[in-house]
């Protein structure tokens, strides 16, 4: 099992939710109103007057084989317009209850 943390511009919420549904990922956890800044480029997303954009994060714990397809779709979303911003981070799940 892998944990995939998707952090994206809140404007992409509909797309991300649609993707998760389509990929039959049932379980996820979502946080709203997150601030962040990209490591390389792009505008900060602070939700302020200066930087009005804001992020949402979705954490899904998925089977290993789903990770690739998930990342592939996320990349596709990102490529629609790089300025909007979506990133995903994957790590191992050691134990589960």
């Amino acid at each position: 099992m892998k944990a995939v943390l998707i952090i994206f511009n809140t404007a992409l919420t509909d797309k991300v939710e649609y993707m998760i549904d389509k990929l039959n990922i049932r379980g996820f956890t979502q946080w709203d109103g997150l601030q962040g800044r990209g490591s390389v480029d792009g505008d900060p997303h602070y939700g302020t007057h200066t930087w009005p954009e804001i992020n949402t994060a979705t954490l899904c714990i998925v089977e290993d084989e789903k990770v690739d397809i998930l990342l592939e779709k996320i990349q596709k979303i990102d490529e629609i317009d790089k300025r909007v911003g979506i990133r995903a981070f994957v790590w191992n799940i050691e134990r589960m209850y």
């Binding site: 797309k15 300025r83 909007v84």
Partner: protein
């Protein structure tokens, strides 16, 4: 859940909410009355007391003074003025604005209860009139008749007034100059005395004979009969056969010593309409009634009635205020439509997308319709002010929607689905949109607080703009995202050479780049740029002395009225001759006149109409109705000036005054400077007033110089000798009553015929009361039946008295007034003040300047205060928005410059500064500040995002150029039809269009050049970063 999210997620609900608003708004619109101005309830109450036969001096002493003293202590009373005229006393109480007039009226009624017992016996009870603009007649008719003239009262009552009264919204229908039937018993005193009969005895006998009484029941057999005595006259012929008594065995009937005439009442008024004898009929509407609708239904009803009248009775319209109103309103509605069209074109021009344009434009009708709901609820009407307010608002309501839509489009272009874009893009800008709206509200809301007459103008503007702009913001964050989510889509760039992308878009891009280059250039030459701006500002402010001032613009209402005064004391018969001459002149020289109403002399009964105008046996009132403005070459002012020349050539005419408005106008009537001279002594004040008037007449720009106190009128006074009276056992009361009964007449009883009552008046035949010796020969009888000639107990003297005595603040006052010609009111007032200082003021006389000039000063003062309040509020909103004391100052730095534009525009077009153009100036503040905020906010944003000062300014300028231009163009083009309009009533609002357009051109330029420069000057480079650096000192552990 936020409003925009719900709106997008529930499109049907959103649509239904707005549909409901539109339906409700349209419903209100159909119910709204149409009027020229908002209804004005002047906080004034008039107390009218009639005392027939008394001259102005007696009225002043016995009635006016008592009423004034009693009413002077009322609460909230601002000013008390009065006019004492022959027969009538008019006391006007002016209250503070906002006083509850119903309460005030009750207080007055209570106070008058005390007064009643102190008034002379013959005086009628004081009547109270509340003055409301809806009281002004809306339609005036001229009714002319020939053979039917004596019976006109009954004809009109039955066939015209009764049917008209059934029309919905009719207040009252009045008749002026109506012939009233009266029965005179004119006694020959010589014969009567010979037989020992007095006027009082005849009166008593007639009264005793004209009597009906039920006497009870009589039971006869099976029946019960009612018994009655039927003594009332059934014909006026009966009166002459009444037996007065026996004289040496001979029966004396009334006809033996008197002549009985059943005729129309002797009147000192002569009404001629288009040269024919006639009556004026005026129609008042109910308060809150729809003037246009009522007037139209009255007109229609009159058309139906006409065929039922006798052939010689003709009804013609003298003036119909609904014509002017509906023309004005139509013109304004047209203007509003043009403004709407221009806004659509401007938005389309800048966006180049049909769907986007449609979404934005939709906010206009919604916002405007909400204004109708407001008007409906607050009891307002469709009028010049509310429509002008709407055309002001029309350019502003699209701004918010544009901002929202722009951001949504940006997101869609970045690949978001319209639905996502609608929600998240609105989320990013909704707060900013609300804040800019707050600024506009901060400018306009204080307008609702203005009191006084100007408040009537400004309150509606304030409310309407506040409400429409707030609605537009709500629509922008709910309806706009919803529609965007449904209608917008990503369009591929269009290829066609003539497409928007390849033409206008290219042009706009070039414009953006050009502006960016110029702003960079200007930023390098800050000092010279500021110097040039200040130079322009300074020189334009010098122009302000060249711009005239007035209170309200005059408008050509196709009407000229003249009040012409002949030698005082002249008989009405002589006045009539002059009136006929004038009629001839008008008929020959002024073909534009379609209806001519001439009334000469005065109605001695004292009616409500006496409040409105001056009358007297030497006064001729002329009303000319002209052809519509478009059908004639001369304006009403040209005709008035020509007519002045004609009047000046007639030697009998002592004085004349020409006015052009239909009675009641905003701002207290005509544009005149009034000098108020207070003083008790008639002679001193008369001489001073005459000196002043002569001096003012020498001022070339003064016209129609008038002295309010007419010339002294000769009158006869019976001065009783109390010693002699005492010998005969007479007193003043009995003698004066006897005199009055013989001259004015004794109303003995009433003659009843078909439900109407007519007075039977006993008095001396005219030939026995038409000279001083006749009066002295009048015989009175004492209680012992002893006959005494008046000449034996007193003398008849000729004295002089002014026909009207005016009071203000309970003091006698004379007003000298002048109307400016070619110059403004302010200038004339200044010149008069200079002249005044050269004339030595007599002792005990107080002089003040008042009139429209005073009103103007007061309103401008009010407006100045309001401007200050607006500016303060705007500062408060902006300071909190920017969290800075300095940035609002930078933005407000541009406000004075926009006034340069107003002044220059007024100067170029030769328009006067008046309350309407001042209104335009207030509006400008809103636009200038809004534009500046858009720009400065963006500059701040760019600086926060790390650009340096100049770079940030240049980038922001480039990016904000289009929104600023859009706002300016929508508002400016919206006003263009107003400024250019030349239809009826256009004189009232074109100054506003002119000042707004002038100010806009200037202020747009300013926002684009001066604001960035000022920003660069006041904010030093790096200040924003420094603040962050200072902050960092607290985190020195990292160093």
């Amino acid at each position: 859940m936020s409003i925009y999210r719900s709106a997008v997620k529930k499109p049907i609900t959103t649509l239904m909410v707005f549909t409901a608003i539109i339906v409700f708004g349209l419903y209100s619109l159909t119910k709204l009355p149409v009027d020229l101005y908002p209804e004005i309830e002047l906080p004034a109450i008039t107390v009218l007391t009639v005392y027939r036969g008394a001259n102005s001096g007696e009225i002043e002493k016995n009635i006016t003074k008592i009423v004034e003293d009693q009413l002077n202590t009322l609460s909230n009373l601002k000013q008390i003025t009065s006019v004492s005229r022959d027969n009538i006393s008019v006391v006007t109480l002016e209250f503070q604005w906002g006083t509850n007039l119903d309460e005030a009226a009750n207080d007055i009624r209570n106070a008058l209860e005390f007064v009643k017992q102190r008034l002379p016996e013959g005086a009628d009870n004081p009547q109270i009139f509340k003055f409301n603009s809806s009281l002004m007649p809306i339609v005036f008719y001229a009714v002319t008749a020939e053979e039917s003239y004596p019976g006109l009262e009954k004809i009109l009552e039955e066939k015209v007034i009764n049917p008209l009264n059934r029309i919905d919204g009719i207040g009252q229908i009045g008749l002026a100059g109506l012939p009233k039937r009266e029965i005179y018993v004119e006694v020959d005193p010589v014969k009567a005395e010979a037989m020992g009969i007095t006027v009082e005895m005849i009166g008593g006998i007639i009264q005793a004979e004209n009597f009906n009484l039920p006497a009870g029941n009589v039971k006869m057999g099976d029946m019960d009969y009612q018994l009655k005595i039927q003594g009332e006259f059934y014909s006026s012929d009966q009166i002459q056969n009444i037996i007065l008594g026996n004289f040496f065995g001979q029966t004396i009937r009334i006809k033996d010593i008197a002549q009985v005439r059943d005729t129309i009442r002797e009147s000192n008024i002569d009404e001629k309409l288009n040269g024919k004898t006639g009556v004026r009929m005026f129609v008042q509407k109910q308060s809150g009634g729809n003037t246009v609708k009522v007037a139209k239904s009255v007109q229609a009803e009159i058309e139906k009635i006409k065929p039922t009248l006798p052939p010689d009775v003709k009804i013609e319209t003298i003036f119909d205020s609904s014509d002017f109103i509906s023309n004005s309103i139509n013109n304004l509605t047209e203007t509003l439509m043009y403004a709407f069209l221009f806004v659509i074109l401007v938005v389309l021009f800048f966006l180049g997308r049909w769907r986007a344009t449609f979404i934005i434009i939709l906010t206009i009708p919604i916002s405007l319709i909400v204004a109708f709901i407001f008007l409906g609820i607050s009891g307002g009407s469709i009028n010049i002010i509310s429509l002008t307010s709407l055309s002001i608002a029309i350019g502003m309501v699209v701004d918010d929607a544009i901002v929202v839509l722009e951001n949504i489009t940006k997101h869609i272009e970045r690949g978001a689905t319209p639905r996502e874009a609608a929600i998240y893009a609105t989320n990013e800008v909704w707060l900013a949109v609300i804040v800019t709206t707050l600024v506009v509200v901060a400018v306009f809301f204080p307008l609702t607080l203005v009191s006084g007459l100007t408040g009537v103008l400004f309150k509606q503007l304030g409310w309407i703009v506040t409400i429409t702009v707030t609605t537009s913001t709500l629509a922008a964050i709910s309806l706009t995202p919803m529609l965007s989510s449904k209608m917008l889509k990503l369009l591929p760039p269009r290829k066609s050479k003539l497409s928007w992308d390849n033409t206008i878009q290219k042009f706009l891009e070039k414009l953006d780049n050009f502006y960016e280059r110029s702003i960079r250039y200007v930023l390098r030459h800050k000092v010279s740029a500021l110097l040039v701006s200040f130079l322009i500002f300074g020189s334009s402010m010098l122009l302000i002395t060249q711009v005239g001032t007035e209170f309200m613009p005059d408008s050509d209402q196709s009407r000229v009225s003249a009040t012409i005064e002949l030698q005082t004391g002249i008989r009405v018969e002589e006045t009539k001759k002059v009136a006929r001459l004038l009629e001839k002149i008008i008929k020959e020289k002024y073909p534009e006149v379609t209806l001519l109403s001439v009334s000469s002399g005065s109605d001695d009964t004292g009616s409500i109409s006496s409040i409105f105008g001056t009358s007297g046996s030497n006064i001729i009132n002329i009303i000319m109705r002209l052809e519509p403005k478009s059908a004639r070459n001369r304006t009403c002012w040209d005709i008035g000036d020509e007519f002045r020349k004609d009047l000046a050539q007639i030697p009998e005419i002592k004085n004349y005054k020409i006015t052009y408005s239909q009675g009641f106008q905003m701002g207290g009537g005509d544009n005149s400077v009034v000098i108020e001279i207070y003083g008790y002594d008639f002679d001193t004040t008369n001489i001073y007033a005459a000196q002043l008037a002569d001096a003012i007449k020498k001022i070339p720009s003064a016209r129609d110089v008038q002295i309010s106190r007419a010339e002294m009128k000769p009158e006869l006074e019976f001065v009783p000798d109390r010693e002699k009276m005492a010998i005969y056992g007479l007193n003043v009361a009995s003698v004066s009553l006897a005199l009055r009964n013989r001259v004015t007449g004794l109303t003995a009883t009433k003659f009843r015929e078909s439900g109407e009552e007519y007075n039977i008046v006993v008095r001396l035949d005219e030939k026995y009361r038409s000279s001083i010796s006749d009066i002295e020969n009048i015989v009175v009888q004492n209680s012992q039946g002893l006959k005494v000639c008046l000449g034996d107990i007193g003398v008849v003297q000729e004295t002089w008295l002014p026909p009207t005595i005016e009071h203000k603040r309970r003091e006698r006052i004379v007003k000298v007034s002048a109307v400016p010609q070619g110059v403004s009111l302010g200038t004339l007032a200044g010149e008069i003040e200079k002249v005044m200082n050269d004339i030595p003021k007599p002792q005990g006389v107080l002089v003040e300047i008042g009139g429209a000039y005073k009103d103007m000063q007061d309103s401008f003062m009010d407006l100045g205060l309001l401007l200050l309040l607006s500016i303060l509020l705007v500062y408060i909103v902006m300071a909190s928005q920017f969290e800075s004391f300095k940035i609002p100052l930078i933005i407000m730095f541009s406000i004075p410059f926009s006034f340069s534009g107003v002044v220059i525009a007024l100067w170029l077009t030769g328009t006067n500064l008046n309350i309407i153009s001042a209104l335009g100036a207030v509006l400008l503040i809103g636009i200038v500040v809004k534009n500046a905020i858009v720009l400065v906010d963006y500059i701040n944003l760019m600086r926060d995002r790390g650009y340096n000062l100049c770079e940030a300014i240049a980038i922001s300028g480039k990016s904000r150029l289009r929104p600023v231009l859009m706002t300016a163009l929508t508002t400016g083009l919206g006003m263009l039809p107003l400024a250019l309009s030349s239809g009826e009533g256009s004189e009232i609002w074109s100054p506003m269009g002119i000042s707004v357009i002038g100010g806009l051109i200037f202020s747009t330029f300013l926002t684009l050049i001066v604001v960035p420069v000022a920003y660069a000057v006041f904010e030093r480079s790096g200040t924003r970063r420094k603040r962050r650096l200072a902050h960092r000192k607290d985190f020195s552990f990292m160093d």
